[in-house]
């Protein structure tokens, strides 16, 4: 049997298996509802209702399976978005290299796709074995969406195989557009899958369509469209693009480091750069989607909001800040290392130290915690948990100032990078430069003023409100400068970029970005799910299993870190595999 059919078959079998698991639950739930004519309340469970398997910690099992499934799912959802984008760009620009990279990447994601299905199966088995009553309750409400899920899973698998195996045969003329259509179908079904699964997860956090006792009103749309569904969909969608970009970039870095010739090096350098650009570009709007998500959590339950931001979980937000800061630092380093790709890059190298200073300074402000970890001596000389100098830095307004300036300076690095290989020839080049400088200065002044004035000298309500004009300022400057740059560099002297002319060190920045992303998703995902505390379905169905306590931050961080290592090891293995299989074939 040809290997491709084998893999299609095994996948189909897996999907069918998953379906088989779900169906009885669906029907038992639906039948029960049918029999009584209405939906029952959420079951009240006792510790004995949770099956035990010696030697297996149920929570850990489900946690790990869910985490692995989520990482791989994010990967295989993101890569097709990316691949489709590249394919379309390739067609529009009529450049072969986009097509080549896109195809190369789709190949890598194929293995990941089957691992996604396997981990999904594991998760389902774990949930059904260890939390049968919860699953019964959820499927009595969500049964119909579970069927829909299975359906879309088939559609996605089919589209994926058509997309991959059709790449070469459908590579010209109208067929190419048909192929792009298949890619669109693939993405649409993948994203729908995620949206459906999001409905289940968000229902557990902010249940809707049920009363206090958990009795379902029968309208599935009510349960799906709960408080967090919208923001979660948006947040995960954007994050997936960023994540996909970072993984592709890491792959390119891996191949760059192992490249044998200059041509290969140049190719993977270019691929890494492009993928990283997409990753960072998608990262920029992510905090705002995050704000929306958090605001909705607060709006649904203040208790949940304070648990999230005010209590001990706040420390995970500090870790988040550290990781995101490290991510930005790495992204900037990557850009700076790339200055040398352009002929004029040399002349911008001397500015790097100032850029670095500002970015590092804002980064330090950004992760300064409000409540400090103190030794008793320090606590007694400070006379409390707060430091007179650092206290204000620990509050939101300072962080908003810091993050906006960090974004602006990252953008500045990007502008300098672009100029490393172009020299404007328009007459008003000087005026244009001055205009950009003025924009930056005004923006920074405005951001600081808004933050300091509204943040520290007015009522709390304005504190949050002021972050909106700050962000607007940043985005406006970025947009305006891009327009000026575009006009200024029309017909400019553009030198060919010397791809491949970067130090190997820069590639490690790409690895760091991918690992940071993965880690972040795990840690913040833990927080997101842990703020439910001792509830399966928040305030409706109580978790009475022996594991219904919030683990310490250290425990959670260790679990996620081990998960990250396992995931990264598998990804490295996939990279290696995809490379292996191709060694013999000529890379056209």
């Amino acid at each position: 049997m040809k290997p491709r059919f084998k893999s299609i078959l095994s996948l189909t079998a897996l999907a069918a298996l998953q379906l088989l698991f779900v169906l009885p639950y669906f029907f038992s739930g639906a039948l029960a509802a049918e029999a009584t004519g209405a939906f029952g309340p959420a079951p009240v469970l006792a510790a004995g209702d949770y099956p035990k398997v010696t030697g297996v910690n149920p929570r850990m099992f489900v946690w790990m399976a869910a985490q692995m499934h989520l990482w791989f799912a994010a990967f295989v959802l993101a890569v097709p978005i990316f691949v489709l984008l590249l394919e379309v760009v390739g067609v529009i620009r009529k450049e072969k290299r986009y097509d080549k990279v896109a195809y190369e990447f789709l190949r890598v994601s194929l293995t990941a796709y089957s691992i996604t299905a396997i981990t999904g199966g594991l998760l389902l088995v774990g949930l059904i074995v260890f939390y049968p009553d919860l699953m019964k309750y959820l499927s009595s409400i969500f049964g119909s969406t579970m069927l829909l899920y299975a359906l879309f899973f088939f559609v996605e698998s089919a589209a994926l195989y058509l997309y991959y195996y059709g790449w070469k045969p459908m590579s010209s003329g109208g067929l190419k557009w048909a192929h792009i259509g298949v890619g669109l179908l693939l993405n649409a079904s993948g994203t729908t899958l995620m949206f459906i699964a999001n409905a289940w997860v968000t229902f557990m956090m902010t249940p809707a369509g049920v009363d206090m006792a958990g009795v379902f009103d029968g309208n599935i749309w009510h349960a799906v469209r709960n408080h967090l569904w919208g923001p979660m969909n948006l947040h995960r969608f954007i994050a997936n693009i960023a994540y996909g970009g970072s993984i592709v970039a890491a792959y390119a870095a891996y191949r760059f480091l192992g490249a044998s010739g200059d041509k290969e090096k140049a190719h993977y350098d270019w691929m890494g750069y492009t993928a990283n650009l997409v990753a960072i570009g998608a990262l920029l709007p992510l905090p705002f989607a995050g704000y929306w998500l958090t605001a909705e959590i607060y709006a649904y339950s203040q208790q949940m909001g304070i648990t999230l931001m005010g209590g001990l979980f706040a420390w995970l937000f500090i870790i988040q800040a550290v990781l995101i800061g490290a991510l930005f630092l790495a992204a900037n380093y990557y850009l700076w290392c790339g200055f040398k790709r352009g002929v004029n890059g040399e002349r911008y190298l001397k500015y790097v130290r100032y850029l670095a200073f500002v970015i590092a300074a804002t980064f330090l402000v950004w992760f300064t915690p409000h409540t400090l970890i103190l030794t008793p001596e320090e606590a007694s000389s400070l006379g409390g948990q707060y430091h007179p100098l650092l206290g204000p830095l620990g509050l939101m307004p300072a962080k908003n100032i810091a993050v906006n300036i960090m974004l602006l300076f990252t953008f500045l690095s990007f502008l300098l990078y672009r100029r490393s290989h172009r020299t404007p020839t328009v007459k008003w080049a000087r005026a244009g430069n001055a205009m950009e400088a003025a924009l930056f200065t005004a923006a920074i002044a405005n951001i600081i003023f808004l933050g300091v004035y509204y943040g520290y000298f007015t009522n709390s309500v304005y504190k949050v409100a002021s972050s909106v004009p700050q962000v607007a300022t940043t985005l406006f400057v970025i947009a305006a400068c891009l327009v000026i740059e575009y006009l200024m560099h029309r017909n400019s002297e553009t030198a060919e970029l010397k791809w491949g002319r970067v130090p190997d060190r820069s590639q490690y920045a790409l690895f760091l970005i991918a690992v940071s992303f993965t880690w972040l998703m795990g840690l913040m995902g833990f927080v997101r799910s842990a703020i439910r505390q001792h509830w399966h379905v928040y305030s409706v169905m109580r978790d009475n299993s022996p594991d219904a306590f919030t683990p310490s931050i250290a425990y959670a961080a260790k679990t996620v870190s081990v998960g990250t290592i396992i995931f990264m090891a598998i990804v490295a293995f996939i990279f290696w595999l995809s490379h292996m299989g191709r060694e013999g074939e000529a890379d056209e």
Binding site: Q303, W336, L364, S380, H387, L389, N459, P503
Partner: protein
Amino acid sequence: MRLLKFALTSLFFYLLLKAPGFFWDKPIPSSLVSMYMFFIVITVLLVMTITDEGARGLFAPIRALVEDPSKKLVRNAVFVILPLAAVFLAYDGGGLKATPSELRATHPAPPPLTRGYGKTFDLATLENPFRKIEKEDPEAFKSLVKEGGEVYFKNCFFCHGDKLDGRGHYAHALDPKPLPFTGGDTIAQLQESYVFWRILKGGPGLPREGGSSISAMPAWEKELTEEEIWKVILFLYDYTGNTPRSW
């Protein structure tokens, strides 16, 4: 020479971070200094290794020390001194001498409901019954604040201080210390329902999530009436010029 520059730059920032402790007795906590320094050193390292020449220059002395045959004497000296220094540090106790630092949530999440005065308060919706009088009848509000002030000076100022800065007579003997109400870090960040819960239940009523959360703050539900607590809250905000968080 680049190596020296690297060391000096890092040292400069380190001293900068230590300065508030030396000159002002307000040390930046060592946990934070190490976090800051970690990223400062990395950033300096990054900046100095953007180009290959830069990186080579930076590490040249180290490479020479290990590889250069003419540096044999120095090399041997360094390889003897380094382990000895490590031994000394370990013997001396190093970082272990300091008392362990504590991770404590000063403002842990409140429970959704709390009981007192024979009823149940829902902290999500609870409001200060006197707050609306502030706009409706400023005069009456003033006298309520004054009564709150009396409650404060009869019960609270021993610990929280007569300027509400957390420096009362007893404060120096307590750990954790009484919190100040001035400044933007405490009640300015809280809703009145939260402050109400803290006064009602005190240190004994703190949830366990905040680590060891024993504090000397008494639970006032047996000593003060519900109205008195609301009034003293009015006083705390009024005196310090803070406004309660409203969202």
